[in-house]
Symmetry: C2
Subunit: 227 residues, 2 copies
DNA sequence: AATTAATTCAAACGTTTGATTGAATCCATG
DNA sequence: CATGGATTCAATCAAACGTTTGAATTAATT
């Protein structure tokens, strides 16, 4: 039994890097194993299939992140009712912290966000399995932090918050305009702060019922979403 | 020259539907043309390659949307300085309006969001070409609407706003938790309103400098983004 | 009716894909 | 040093891929 561990982790490391760049579909098992310097059959021997490689890459890192999220949430809740900013920090910080890991951390975070937006069924279910518990906890916490909002409204706003996070992780610099998005020079802490502020303000914004039915405050009537 | 126009648009319609569900990589040209009921070679005859099919699907619909965005922006700007909500409505409403088009409009919007998040190079450049002008106009308008923010901060917040939009279009109902995200019963207008309120509040939130360097207001020290 | 160009079609192209095989190699253990 | 399970390897598999071909078909023009 030669360099078993090395081969297995070599495959995972390489997969993390390549999948995050080109997506799972964009990387063949051949090019992946070639880049890792191992035989194609080694991937099947250790993982069984390409799908299982992808799921292994995902599971290897996401669990510590989600454990840390729960830990932070517990810590905040033990010392009183957490503020919105604290909840968002508990949700975002472990992800951005891993993203800063010089050991391919940024690769994994892009991969993680890509899993969330790729259409493959097995990626969806893998994601759901890993996240349902964490999101359930946070959904409950956000409901308590926003007692004036209906439950569905809270879910919708969490959805928006995740959109900000996923989009920021997925497009760290690449955007349609070079002016948009975080600059390469921005620190992750600065980006986290900006995200938390942005999302916290959005989450505690006035709820729909305060405006005339369906209308947005102070809007002139040029735009019509038909019907 | 038989049903030329029919064939071409049949391919585009089918591609729009299938690409939006499974992504471009997830749909073979064979299954696509089979679903459309046309010969495989017809796709190459009319478009030249699979990539060109994808770009044609994209271009066919995105241009009217972006023209409408510019039109709305012009209209708001002609009658005074637009509010944040008006700018966001001009940005979001044409997209959500198309999304409501019973003629496969929702398919296209998912496709559009998928283009934005798929790793393929030709999709990125196609997206950039179609959007750079629109985003340039809106970036300028947002800067005027948020004069107290630094230019980079405005770009960052637009980036967040696009994240909310893309994520909402891409995951109309599917989320990790069924409780999250817009319900199937939610009208697009209600979703638009919720998005506009959320993002507007985020955009006009206090800027970083108002807090102690790098810190988020009222945050207890459980979370550390290392370093 | 003949000519011509546009379009469709079945068939095949060569390549790449994920997966599998069986022999070779390694290394801990007896 | 021999045994045997663990691991690697080159070679190969069938299937699917995007693309191309050249003949057949269609419809407008002469």
């Amino acid at each position: 039994m030669p360099n078993a561990k090395e081969t297995k982790e070599l495959i995972l490391d390489t997969a993390e890097r390549l999948f995050s760049e080109k997506g799972v579909d964009g990387v063949s098992l051949r090019s992946l194993t070639a880049a890792a310097g191992v035989n194609i059959a080694a991937a099947h021997y250790h993982f069984g299939s390409k799908e299982e490689v992808a799921k292994a890459v995902f599971a290897r890192r996401i669990r510590p992140v989600n454990r840390e999220r729960i830990r932070l949430l517990d810590a905040y809740q033990e010392s009183g009712r957490p503020s919105l900013e604290e909840l968002l920090t508990a949700l975002f910080a472990p992800a951005l912290r891993l993203a800063r890991d010089p050991q391919r951390g940024d690769d994994f975070m892009r991969l993680c966000a890509r899993f969330y937006s790729e259409p493959a069924e097995y990626l969806e279910s893998a994601f759901r399995e890993e996240f349902s518990q964490v999101l359930s906890r946070f959904h409950e916490a956000f409901r308590r932090a926003l007692p004036e909002l209906a439950e569905e409204e809270v879910g919708l706003r969490i959805h928006f918050a995740i959109g900000v996070l996923v989009h920021t992780l997925l497009n760290p610099t690449r955007t349609c305009l070079p002016k948009l998005g975080p600059k390469a020079s921005d620190s992750d802490k600065a980006t986290l702060d900006a995200m938390v502020r942005f999302v916290a303000a959005g989450m505690r914004s006035a709820r729909a019922a305060q405006f005339p039915a369906g209308a947005v405050a102070g809007l002139r009537a040029h735009a019509e979403v038909a019907q």
